[in-house]
């Protein structure tokens, strides 16, 4: 078959209509979970704590223009996000609602690197997909496949990321985390055992690698679904991961057959044996037979999206050293629950003109969350060094040298210096290039 003919066949296959029930259910659940997340976020005081109170935010490289709104702006921002999430949950102008959610949610997440979480990134990506997906009486197959592939990639790359010595050979960081839960009901004494940490590490890696495939395969599906729900319930009970288990549990349902919501409804509301069949509502009518091939632009966009989604989790191979230590290529890569790190940073700021040296404890000017996150992330340590230099310049002390005494404990290793203490960070540029001033791990 010629290239163009194969492409046309692929486009036709991707344009084939499928039952939209699972996509609708996913969209509704996702909107509802987003709404709950926003309400929970606001009720916990995190809008103020993360966006209003900090005097400084750690911008992403290239996104310094994304700033927190002044005054009540951030509250209005989250109010608008809640409204859009409600629309998404109810299916009111769902693509527009998803687009609004994507823009508002992603903007908030881009304000400060200290707030980065893998599942926040997942929320952004899924919202982007939902904004692009047409779901009517039927949905094109590519829509279902795209969401499935996206969710599958999260599990798969989370599993690939676990294929490393720390996880498999040292059972770290699970060994530390589980031991901290020795008083967990019933299972607690097991968690204190090293061998249990090993079992759970290996099982966790196997689970992540296999879950999407086992959910797709009919014969293993019931067990895989039970394992997925059990796994997320257990991690949710053990670790402070908020909405993550709920989001992943609901997202995993997209890997079930597309008519699962219809089947579930039939089970929950069985038709009495002696009654005549109820009329099928219009919104769940059978899939129409007509189909249009996916457009070339659509195919290109899908290829671009998933090309990026494949490249981002692998980009850490372009950097030297252990990315768990250097954090280079660590974000946006589904490196989930891989590291237990704690850091301490103190800056030494020297004014060459006067020879005076200032010691700066960043905890004084940052929130607890910011200080804790920046202390082990070299790019954030660099950002704050630049911020300090700018602050001194603004106070009439230009061209200061900024050096960091940064120490980190990483996955049970003895603490060690993270940053070359002799490097003037004020002269180092931020960017995507490798940072030669990050010292090797112990």
């Amino acid at each position: 078959m010629s290239g163009p003919a194969a492409l046309l066949r692929l486009r036709r296959a991707l344009g084939r209509p499928v039952d939209p029930a699972s996509l609708r259910a996913f969209r509704g659940m996702f909107g509802a979970l987003l709404l709950v997340s926003v309400i929970r976020f606001a009720a916990s005081g995190w809008i103020a704590a993360q966006y209003v109170e900090p005097a400084y935010h750690f911008p992403y490289w290239g996104f310094a223009w994304v700033r927190a709104w002044p005054g009540v702006g951030m509250y209005l921002h989250f109010l608008a996000l809640a409204g859009a999430a409600l629309c998404l949950a109810l299916g009111l102008r769902p693509r527009l609602a998803a687009l609004a959610c994507f823009a508002l949610f992603t903007y908030a997440e881009l304000i400060d690197r200290a707030t980065y979480l893998n599942h926040y990134y997942l929320v952004s990506v899924l919202l982007l997909l939902l904004a692009c997906i047409p779901i009517g009486r039927a949905a094109p197959a590519w829509a279902l496949y795209a969401v499935r592939l996206q969710v599958g990639l999260v599990y798969f790359f989370a599993g690939v990321a676990k294929l490393r010595a720390d996880w498999l050979l040292d059972a770290q960081p699970l060994r530390i985390w589980l031991a901290a839960h020795a008083d967990f009901p019933v299972l607690g004494p097991l968690f204190a055992r090293t061998e249990v940490a090993y079992v759970m590490s290996w099982a966790g890696a196997a689970f992540d690698l296999g879950a999407p495939f086992l959910l797709l395969y009919r014969r293993t599906r019931p067990f895989a679904l039970l394992a997925v729900l059990g796994f997320h319930a257990l991690t949710g009970a053990l670790f402070p991961i908020g909405m993550f288990p709920w989001i992943m549990s609901s997202a995993a349902l997209i890997l079930l057959p597309p008519d699962w919501p219809r089947r579930l409804l039939r089970r929950l509301r069985p038709v009495p044996a002696d009654s005549s069949p109820a009329p099928v509502p219009a919104d769940i009518s059978p899939v129409p037979a007509d189909s249009r091939p996916l457009s070339r632009i659509g195919l290109a966009a899908l290829a671009l999206h998933f090309g990026v989604q494949l490249a981002l989790p692998l980009r850490h191979h372009l950097y030297p050293g252990d990315h768990g230590w250097t954090e280079e290529g660590f974000r946006f890569a589904w490196h989930v629950m891989l590291v237990e790190k704690t850091g301490v940073v103190t800056y030494r700021v020297r004014d060459p003109a006067s020879g005076r040296t200032f010691v700066v404890h960043p905890e004084d000017a940052l929130t607890v969350q910011q200080a804790r996150q920046m202390a082990f992330q070299p790019d954030m340590i660099l950002s704050y060094a630049h911020h300090l230099a700018a602050g001194f310049a603004a106070r009439g002390v230009p061209d200061v040298e900024v050096r960091a005494d940064a120490f980190v404990a990483y996955n049970g290793r003895p603490s060690a210096r993270l940053i070359d203490p002799n490097v003037d960070l004020a002269r180092e540029r931020d960017g995507l290039a490798a940072k030669p001033w990050i010292l090797p791990p112990p």
């Binding site: 916990s44 995190w46 993360q50 707030t115 979480l117 893998n118 599942h119 960081p173 530390i176 985390w177 031991a179 901290a180 839960h181 020795a182 008083d183 019933v186 299972l187 607690g188 004494p189 097991l190 204190a192 055992r193 670790f239 402070p240 991961i241 908020g242 909405m243 993550f244 989930v336 629950m337 237990e340 790190k341 704690t342 850091g343 301490v344 103190t346 700021v349 004014d351 006067s354 005076r356 040296t357 200032f358 010691v359 700066v360 404890h361 905890e363 607890v368 969350q369 804790r372 996150q373 120490f407 980190v408 404990a409 049970g412 003895p414 603490s415």
Partner: protein, 368 residues
């Protein structure tokens, strides 16, 4: 013959059997080596914190009584006596800084008890405008800069405290401050014994609304230890050394500068650390302090901590007295003490917290 299908009830049975087996396995496992977190928390609550708070309350009450008597007799011979009583209270408080969590935070007592550097002008102004009869309500209404141990120190360690022309105003003011300190110290002690100590010792038990888990109790202990060391480094040494402002050392920024007990305070802070880490007697030897948990999991780390503690203690002791003079003339010695305490802080904040899963494995705000 068709393969029998696994029906739903069978799955339920399997699940129940699996859970039962797990529970049985959990129940049959030998406990891990070393004391349990429960034993450590109970020891710290009952053998370290409660006695330490009781000592503070008792010494503060004695100080208040002695000062009240002095302000009647104005006997200069008793001046040294009340100064010694103040030093005792200060030492108790400095030791207790190692476990500054729980009631001291919920009652917000740190400010009213320990505001420094002393604002002399504020204290003098308040003395000048104080009523003839100073009662607890008056002191209670004062801002934190006009009361507490440092303010009282300023008054007691003024050489002519009992001979000053306005002693009739100064002494009752000082006496009222001492009474306020005693009242607050008693409030802390009463809060710890029995309620807070019981809560810490039984962290994780059903119905515990203070520490939902043993880990939460351990978190409180370790974080207070880290905070104690951080305050020593930053507030008590970096600031007077001039490190924070890039300027010359400033003896006026020293803790307890009027009594000349800056070094004593630092040493007491480290004794507090030792009692939390090593147990009630502050010596290595098997008491279930925090270090017992560390030693059971990582003996090498425990050795490093003990060694660093010794180095930090020696570095403080090697700073010549008076500290206010040493900070100018022997700045390197003071800086070395600061650096060694900081190294100890790093070991606790990084290695111990990580080893014990204290540092918030994941972010407060929903990790993943």
């Amino acid at each position: 013959m068709p393969t029998p299908r696994l029906t739903c009830p069978s799955r339920h049975v399997l699940c129940a059997l699996s859970l039962g087996t797990l529970a049985l396995a959990a129940g049959c496992l030998e406990p891990a080596e070393g004391p349990s977190r429960r034993e450590v928390l109970a020891h710290l609550a009952d053998a370290v914190i409660v006695p330490g708070q009781a000592r503070l309350a008792s010494d503060a009450a004695a100080l208040a009584d002695r000062l009240a008597a002095v302000c009647v007799a104005y006997d200069p011979a008793l001046h040294a006596d009340v100064q010694a009583a103040w030093r005792a209270v200060r030492a108790d408080w400095s030791v207790a800084s190692a476990w500054a969590f729980g009631p001291v935070a919920t009652q917000m007592q740190a400010g009213p008890l320990d505001f420094w550097p002393v604002r002399v002008d504020t204290i003098e102004a308040k003395i000048a405008e104080a009523p003839a009869k100073i009662d607890a309500a008056y002191i209670d209404a004062l801002g934190t800069s006009a009361k507490g141990m440092p303010a009282l120190e300023y008054l007691l360690f003024t050489p002519d405290f009992l001979d000053a022309p306005d002693r009739a105003r100064r002494c009752p003011y000082a006496s009222a401050l001492a009474a306020d300190i005693a009242r607050r110290a008693e409030a802390l002690s009463s809060a710890w014994d029995p309620a807070y100590a019981a809560a810490l010792a039984s962290a994780g038990d059903d119905g515990s609304d203070i520490y939902a888990s043993e880990q939460a109790g351990l978190d409180a202990v370790v974080n207070a230890t880290i905070e104690n060391l951080y305050r020593m480094v930053k507030d008590k040494l970096d600031r007077p050394l001039g490190n924070l402002t890039g300027s010359d050392p400033d003896p006026e920024a020293l803790e307890s500068r009027f009594s000349g007990t800056t070094r004593d305070d630092l040493e007491a802070n480290l004794r507090g650390f030792a009692s939390v880490y090593l147990g009630a007697d502050g010596e290595p030897g098997g008491q279930p302090g925090l270090g017992a948990l560390v030693a059971a999991r990582d003996p090498a780390l425990d050795d490093r901590i003990l060694a660093q503690h010794g180095v930090a203690r020696d570095a403080i002791a090697s700073v010549p007295e008076p500290f206010s003079k040493a900070i100018v003339e022997h700045r390197g010695d003071v800086q070395r003490a600061r650096d060694e305490i900081d190294a100890l802080r790093r070991l606790i904040k990084l290695d111990v917290a990580s080893l014990l899963g204290v540092t918030l494995m994941l972010s407060d705000n929903d990790g993943d």
